[in-house]
Amino acid sequence: MRVEILEDKISLSKAAAEHAARVLRNAIRRQGHVRLIAATGSSQFEFLDRLTVFSDIDWSRAEMFHLDEYIGLPITHPASFRKYLMERLISKTKIANYHFLDGERDPTEVAREMGKELSIAPIDVAFVGIGENGHLAFNDPPADFQSEVPYIIVELDEACRRQQVNEGWFATVADVPARAISMTVRQILRAKEIIAVVPDGRKAQAVKACLEGEIGPMFPASILRQHPDTTIYLDKNSASLLNPKLAKGC
């Protein structure tokens, strides 16, 4: 795993977006298309803003999947990840080939259908974030490191739901759906390349646990270290608790 520590959130987003754009362009040049996985959440705002301004990415050749979605939340709800992606990625880039996890339909069926679509061909790149509790997609600790199916239904834990309230997506914890459809850890690791975008001081604890501690289900994002081609982008704040020696050596 490569660890890139940038001065602040803006330079982080810029560096990560340039890296992402390079991967997308290369894949399109090499194979004529690119299959990507997009992440959501407030930590991805600036990254997606930057990524969508590149004029030299042929988005018509992109096929997009996403990591997770709340069960039972309509696309009109401000916290809906489909709404998020529609506004922040799809409408800006005009990606025509995208696959949404429909949280209002039978989740088991959605997970199965979407998993089938996803597994047709390899994923070139996955953009991911890390939750305050160390989660990867909606795989809260203790995460399922073993499921080989692409998507599973998960229960959201208290810390994860509180984070959603603090980020302003919901008024109270009770309003946050208790369940979600999430891409599995194994599926995320199947991406050829992973770019993790993790700004802000509120992530510092999780970043430390996932980069310096042991790899295990209690720190779901720690598994990224087993992936041979992952780059994690941090800013000074999210990297503030890292052992300075280790941060260089990773």
Binding site: E214, I215, S222, R225, P228
Partner: protein
Amino acid sequence: MTSSPADTFISARPIRKLRWWIGGLLFASTVINYIDRQSLSLLAPYLKQDYRWTNTDYANILICFRLAYAFGQAMCGRMIDRIGTKRGLTISVLWYSVVSICTSLASGVYSFATFRFLLGAGESANWPGATKAVSEWFRKSERGLAAALFDSGSSIGGAIAPFIVLPIYFRWGWRPAFVLPGLLGFLWLVAWRKMYFSPKDHPRISAEEQRLIAEDTADLKRSSERPSPRWRDLLKLPQTWGTIISKALTDPVWFFITDWFPVYLVAKGISLKGGLFAVWIPFIAADFGNFFGGIASWFLIKRGWSVGAARKALVVFGGIGVMLLIPTILTVNLALITFLFASATFCYAAFSTIANVLPSDLFHDDSVASVSGLSGTGAGIGTIVAFKLIGYFSDANQAMGTHSFDKIILVAGLIPFAGMLLVLVLVRNTRATELGLVRSI
């Protein structure tokens, strides 16, 4: 294929100590042999990703190599006896260099497995071939050192492989990373074809060296006129089993380190880009361990220890030392893991030298090769079983992240210890020694 020596070296001056140049060639062929086979284990973490292999898939590919390698040794040994060292090693190196280059065309588990099988078949000729070359060129007293020299090519090859294979991979991808090691084989072939002839035909050998070598070979011929003991008779002796076990319970651990160490590091979350040194240090340590095993037991014998006691002292040293693998379970610190692996491979290699020497300590000339072949096959079978289990358990425990290899490491640390105990029990002077069936140690 045949070129007359006289064409190549017309009125050339003799080279002093020519046999050590031959030893150098054999060392180089072992180095290249190991670079070719290490390419896959170094690229495994990346290939696993690209081709979505599980550890079980990877294990099956390795096993294809091991199968061909284990049984190939016996067959290639016979082939080389028949067609001669020069032609035998020419075919072997040509074969596996072409296979290594062709591996760049692989596209999945089955094609990789096929190429690995072919590679194993070709590479298996190296040890029998080099051993034969050593027996042609070196006197008894120097044979141990000559064997240690070419054998140490395996550690050196393993140590330099990451610096050749990984930079090519990072720059140009995995396919060229199989091509370049293959091309090295062709360079070697040019040197081999020009420089290797048997001592009696060699145009550059001095008369004095030729005479010294001829004296020893005459001795060999006499002993081969007796009928060789049958396998069945050999297998009745505890010493034979002790010798087989000394290899069968140590080699799998070494091959675990050579073939799985990069995968183990990645499972612990350690990036290979930052951990290049970790991959070659255990090989260097093994190299020192090889020579340490030989020199230390020679020293003890000089101090008046019996051969058996001196050999067993190193077996105990190795059997206990390999347990240093076990504490790696407790850490994700790369420097510490590397140090522990290096210490363990040092101890393993000392043990392994003894395992290689035991057949000649215990058996008469006419059965040394048979017993050594049996222990090679025993080691092959042990390794295949071990790899099957490693693939299975590491996949089953992948939910444990850092700890997915814990049980495997624990067993790997304990198996040579068990081997040590069995060697202590089985290798001793028995009634068979009194009857003259085995040598006293």
